[in-house]
Structures are given as C-alpha cells and as structure tokens.
C-alpha cells in the first residue's frame, strides 16, 4: 500500500474501509487488488473484488484461496 500511495497515512486499522477511511478510490482499489493477485498468485473474480473493502476482508479472501505464506 505504501508503495502504491506513498502519501497515505501509514497507520490504518485492518477494519478501516479503504474508500471511506483510508481515502482510496475505486481506481486505486483495482490497482491494489492487482498487486494482491500478483503477490499471492491468486485471481480475484469480478464478482468478488468489491467485497475487499478493508484489509481484514483481503486477508480472509487470500486465506480462502488457500495461500500458505503470510501476507506482506
């Protein structure tokens, strides 16, 4: 996230909404989800990506895709 948007406040909670609390827009989210896909070698379906509203949702989604190594 820091790499993507260096100007962001680094401290935000895993339940903070990306859009409402962290200040990302939908375009930022598409980029962030693409980075998740490339990092964890998973594919996020179009029907799923809008559910990734905060870090917690991302972590849970990655886990459902059965990724063994810890998130970055």
């Amino acid at each position: 996230m820091e790499d993507m948007k260096p100007a962001l406040d680094k401290d935000f909670g895993i339940q903070d909404s990306f859009i409402d609390d962290v200040g990302l827009d939908s375009l930022d989210l598409t980029e962030y989800v693409a980075r998740i896909e490339n990092t964890f070698l998973i594919e996020v379906d179009d029907k799923d990506w809008k559910q990734l509203i905060n870090l917690q949702a991302c972590i849970e989604y990655i886990q459902t895709k059965n990724v063994d190594h810890a998130p970055a």
Partner: protein, 395 residues
Amino acid sequence: MSTFKLKMLTMLQPDSIVITGMGVMTPLGNTVPIFWEALLQQRSAIEPQEDLAALGFKHIYAARIKELISLPENRGLELAKTAIQQAIEQSKLNPGDLNSVKLIIGTTMGESAAFESFAEGQSIPLGQYNGNGVAKKVAAHFQLLPNTTCVGTACAAGNYAIGTAAWLLKEKKYKQIIAGGVEPFSKTAHVGFSRSRAMSATGCKPFDKSHDGMTLGEGAAFVVMELWENASKRKAFPLAQIHALGLTCDAFHPTAPHPSGIKMSKSIYSALRLAQINTDDIGWICIHGSGTEASDTAEWNAMQLMDKKERLHFAGYKGAIGHSLGAASALEAIVCIQSLLHKIIPASAGLNEPFMRNDLLAPVLQNERFEKRYVLNTAYAFGGLNSALVIGKAG
C-alpha cells in the same frame, strides 16, 4: 426537384452548417444504410472473440469489424479511408475540390497496434501512428489540405471533431471540412478496461438493471460539412444541420465521472443555449451509455437535471456495436442524422429493464417515430470531458 425538397431547402440560411455526406465502418455494417437497418432490426455485433480468449483475456466479448483485413498498424487508417470515401461520394465533392478541404479526426489511441509493437521491441516511428500521424496519412491519400487537426478527446472525440468543425465553418475558415472519429480495436484498451474492472462479462447493457460494465468495439464515422451557401452552389443535398456544441470538464477524476452529473448537465445546457432551443424542442437524446454503473448513473443524474416539461426520449447504441472510443460519438451522430431523415428512433440497444425510472425520461425500448426538429448527441470521456452536440433537420 420535388416541391417538398424545394420547400425544405428554402428554410436553410446561407450560413447554416449542413452535413452533405456521411460514411461509416461499424461492426454492424460497412455503409450507413446497412448499419442503420441493423439497428432498426435490433441486431448486436457483440460476441465472444476467439483471439482474445486464446491470448488469455478474462473478458472476451467485443464488437469487431470482420470484413476489414489490414496490417494491424494501419487498421485505423484503412477504417478512416473507407468511411471518408463514402462521405465524399455522397457529398458529390469532385477530386478537384478536395485540395481545399480540411480534415478533423477524433481518436483516443490512434494506431494502438503500432504502440503495442513498439512495446514489444519493434522500431516504430510513433509520431506516424498517433492520431496526428493517422490524420496526415488520410489527408495525403485524399489530397486534402495538409494542415489536419486531431482532437484527442477520447470517448467524446467525434462530437468534438464535428462541433469544432462547425465553429471553423461559421467563421468561414474553410469551404468544406471532413470531420469524424476513428478507432481500430485496441488490445491495450481492452486490457486496461478489463483489469480496471470496468468491463462487462457478456456484453454491455447500457442503462439496464443488469448493466455490468462496458464492451469494447471499433469503427470509423465521418461527415462532410459545409455552409449551405457553398453546398447549394454545388447542388449537394443537405442531410442535417449542426447547431451547437456544449463543453465542460468535471475536473474530478482520471476516469470516473462526477456522480452528480452536474457538469455533464452544464454541457447540455450550454449546447441548448447556444442553439437557442429548449429541452422540450429535443426529439430524443442519444446517450453516451457506456454500460458501467458509475457512468450510467452520472449520466442519468445529468438528464434528470435538464429543465423539461415534456417526456424526453433517450436511446443508446453501444449495446449493439460496443464502445468504439474515438469513433463512438461520431457513429452516434450519424445515427442521430439518420433518425432525423427517417423520423425514427431505433430501439436502445441492450436495454430491457431500465435501471432507473423518471416520469419525464422515456427509454426507447422499441423503434419509435418522432417529429421534433432536434436531436441531442451526448458523449463523456475519461478526465471528465463532457460534450453535447445539437443536430437538427436540414430544412
């Protein structure tokens, strides 16, 4: 000449800006009559593309022109040349007339395939393949004036090209201008929209309850434009008039429109004010209708803001031919012109159950007759570039 035609022509003023020729290349047909008939039959050219599937794209629905075989890096040039040839023939411009004709081309990416080849490591002189480069080659082919203009306003480029051509003609800078838009199918744009989560899984359904994104197309559409005083001397037949172009900018986001639609409605307001007409004078709006939730919603909000007392009809055609980016609003302008000539609005493509309802906004769900004199062609582009073009009957 028939009495009707004579009466119609006497209503034009010498400085009326008229369209005297049109030409298209579309996934639904490579002439204006074939394209028009296909829209009236509610056909769609959107289908799965085998080559996109083979390349591994997640989204494989698109609308492409199957009949045109060309070198990938020259596809835009060939599309433009074919459409312009039709327009020149219909306008009855002689070869000897062409060297004083100005060309204004609208496009988004120019020859996208050339940029892809460059990215893949080939040595390509990019300046010859951007929109400016394509315009110069087209002008050279037809021996038009070498000082061409390329309007790079993306999904609204067609409206900008036709509208700014009218500005130049009004000031008598040129006798005739060929204006329009072209966009060959772009794998770069396809991957961009697909990965930005803006693309439909099975084909766009603009303004429909089940709208789930846009679908990419390709095409070319050009018109010959001139003052009536010049067209009448040449005995060229006026197909329609161009009255005004309204423009604004959202200044909001690189891709998303402002959800309120306020600046979109301001561009409409400017166009109507400059054309000296009211909303109720408009027969129907040709919507931009890209099929994404964000764009459809903003555009719906803009239409709600229009000051109207009567029901305003609207329809869009990206559900039939996809979104042809730089060619889109030029193709849609030609649909508007055809509708004025035939007094019919083709059914809105891909729209079965509207996603919003308003008593004063009427979606055209079946082909519908209309009598009013004006049509509004709206087009909205990345960066919040908003355009509204007022097109009217020729007489």
